[in-house]
């Protein structure tokens, strides 16, 4: 099966800090990849490079068979325009640690904004689909609530619905439960498990090792901008080979 995301030797520096030091991953369609690692290990940066919220310094990223950010002509890579990058982003949906719901729009308006403004779909049709999505994340009653009127868990579920409304082939989750009060984590993870069961390809940066063990097809452990260990959840999280992985898991579970 053709992988839906391929990164090859991706490097990224922020000033003198090397955030990504040659990262290569492949994710087959329909799989769930969890990326774990200490903060500053580059896992969020990798996710943001896949969605072009960061520009990579070298290497290459393909999403759904398409080279990201550049057009190849002969032996040169030409940078794409703003509009072309925006179009490429439609392949993936992104969920942020801090939800980032549009504060001046209700839950329903947040969800239909992309379909109506970007994809130019009919408003009535977008609303119908948005209501189905709200139902799916269990928030039909909150369609007219503004983000400031919702709890963190509710906001994150609306954010997932907003990303799904674009009908992406791939969902990227950047620490989706890290900003939540402990009692609200479960409701968001439940929606994500449901999504994984439906066959969505997902890349999840997370500290929720339980979720990774239960849902992931593959787990990658990153540290200092590089992949330290990868394998099945059993291999990486239960029987890690590398000392750094063992230390991290011990620290998280402590």
């Amino acid at each position: 099966m053709m992988p839906i995301v391929v990164t090859t030797d991706v490097r990224k520096n922020f000033g003198s800090v090397q955030a990504l030091d040659g990262v290569s991953i492949q994710i087959p369609a329909g799989q769930v990849l969890c990326i774990v690692g200490p903060s500053g290990s580059g896992k969020s940066t990798l996710l943001r490079c896949i969605n072009q919220l960061e520009r990579i310094d070298s290497g290459a990223v393909w999403v759904d068979g398409e080279l990201i950010g550049y057009r190849r002509v002969g032996d040169k890579l030409y940078e794409l325009t703003d509009a072309e990058i925006a179009r490429q982003r439609l392949t993936s949906g992104m969920v942020f640690q801090r939800f980032n719901l549009f504060q001046h729009m209700t839950a329903l308006e947040n969800i239909i904004e992309g379909p109506v403004t970007v994809q130019k779909r009919r408003r009535t049709q977008a609303i119908d689909e948005a209501l189905v999505l709200l139902e799916r994340v269990g928030l039909s009653a909150k369609r007219d609530a503004y983000p400031s009127e919702l709890s963190g868990g509710q906001q994150q579920r609306v954010a997932i619905a907003r990303a799904l409304a674009m009908k992406p082939k791939l969902m990227l989750f950047d620490e989706p439960t890290s900003a939540l009060d402990p009692e609200l984590v479960g409701e968001v993870l439940a929606v994500m498990k449901d999504l994984a069961r439906s066959g969505m390809t997902m890349i999840v940066v997370t500290h929720e090792l339980g979720f990774a063990r239960e849902v992931a097809n593959e787990v990658v452990f990153m540290d200092r901008g590089a992949i330290v260990e990868r394998g099945s959840p059993q291999e990486v999280l239960v029987h890690p080979k590398q000392q750094r992985t063992r230390d991290f898991i011990a620290a998280v579970l402590a």
């Binding site: 703003d82 949906g93 980032n100 549009f102 504060q103 609530a145 400031s148 907003r162 674009m166």
Partner: protein
């Protein structure tokens, strides 16, 4: 001097409690200072009112000219100029704020120069420059398409509009820029993530949220603009103060006509303040500051 040590204030009295005082009536503190201050201010105010009532002001003339033809038409010009100059100022302000924040160094340079120049020179000087532009460029036009004499184009209205509007744009650009900066970067990232381009993000996501920060200072600037139009009287623009002057040059009722003008400025500014209040409420949506019935921040899961 006494040789006894100061008595311990707190400790000695808390030693015995008297539960019976729980029934006693609480008497609020008397604010004698406020009563005295009020009395003094009222007295002073009465003196001022008396002075004006007995002074050399013919209040009948004030009433007579308050709705005089010439004053009302000047008032109309003041309002039209405020609206036009502010519209031009806000348009330029948004445009140049976006240019200042643009990654394009040419656009950014132009905008920085614009703000530097028009904030850096007096408004009165700019008005005089526009009005006397014919001294530099006697004729204006696009070769072959149209041509006109500058003195015909640069009427007092046009000169005032350009002077006030372009100067206002330089200030509004800074207000709009601070409004844009006040919107969380996460909003822009979320907009990008659903495939919006930079300009769509600005129009749909960032500017509507920036409005909450932009409206109060711009409201302030509208109010200030109403009054700024009066300096256009120096280049002969027939706004309310200019027309009041024309009248008092003829009838010598200087103070009466100045009072008429002051009254009208106060009326316009009061109406604008009320409008600003409603505008602020509209753009506060989603911030939780606009109270909506039966909608409190939810805490349940």
């Amino acid at each position: 001097m006494s040789t006894t040590a100061p008595s311990p204030v707190g400790t000695g009295q808390t030693a015995h409690f008297d539960p019976s005082i729980a029934h006693l009536t609480h008497v609020p503190r008397r604010h004698y200072g406020r009563w005295i201050a009020s009395a003094l201010i009222l007295a002073a105010f009465a003196l001022v009112v008396k002075a004006f009532a007995e002074g050399q002001i013919d209040w009948a003339v004030v009433g007579q000219f308050f709705t005089a033809q010439s004053i009302i038409s000047g008032l109309g010009n003041t309002i039209i100029m405020t609206v036009c100059a502010m519209a031009l100022g806000i348009t330029l302000g948004v445009l140049f704020a976006i240019m200042v924040m643009s990654p394009n160094p040419v656009l950014k340079g132009v905008a920085v120069f614009y703000i530097w120049f028009f904030r850096g020179t007096p408004l009165l000087l700019q008005l005089l420059l526009w009005f006397n532009l014919a001294l530099v460029f006697p004729r204006i036009g696009i070769p072959g398409l149209f041509e006109a004499r500058m003195v015909d184009v640069m009427t007092p209205f046009v000169a005032t509009l350009l002077g006030l509007g372009i100067n206002q744009g330089a200030y509004t650009a800074e207000v709009v820029r601070s409004g844009i900066l006040s919107v969380d970067a996460g909003q822009t990232e979320a907009a990008k993530a659903i495939g919006m381009t930079r300009l769509t993000t600005l129009r749909r996501i960032v500017l509507p949220q920036a409005m909450r920060v932009i409206i109060p200072p711009v409201g302030n600037e509208v109010i200030s603009m109403v009054k700024l139009t009066s300096i256009a009287s120096v280049i002969g623009f027939a706004e309310v103060l200019r027309n009041a002057q024309t009248v008092y040059y003829a009838n010598a009722r200087v103070i009466e006509l100045l009072i008429v003008s002051a009254g009208w400025y106060l009326i316009i500014v009061t109406l604008l303040s009320i409008g600003q209040h409603f505008l602020e409420r509209y753009f506060a949506k989603g911030t939780g500051r606009r109270s909506r019935p039966a909608m409190r921040p939810a805490v349940e899961g």
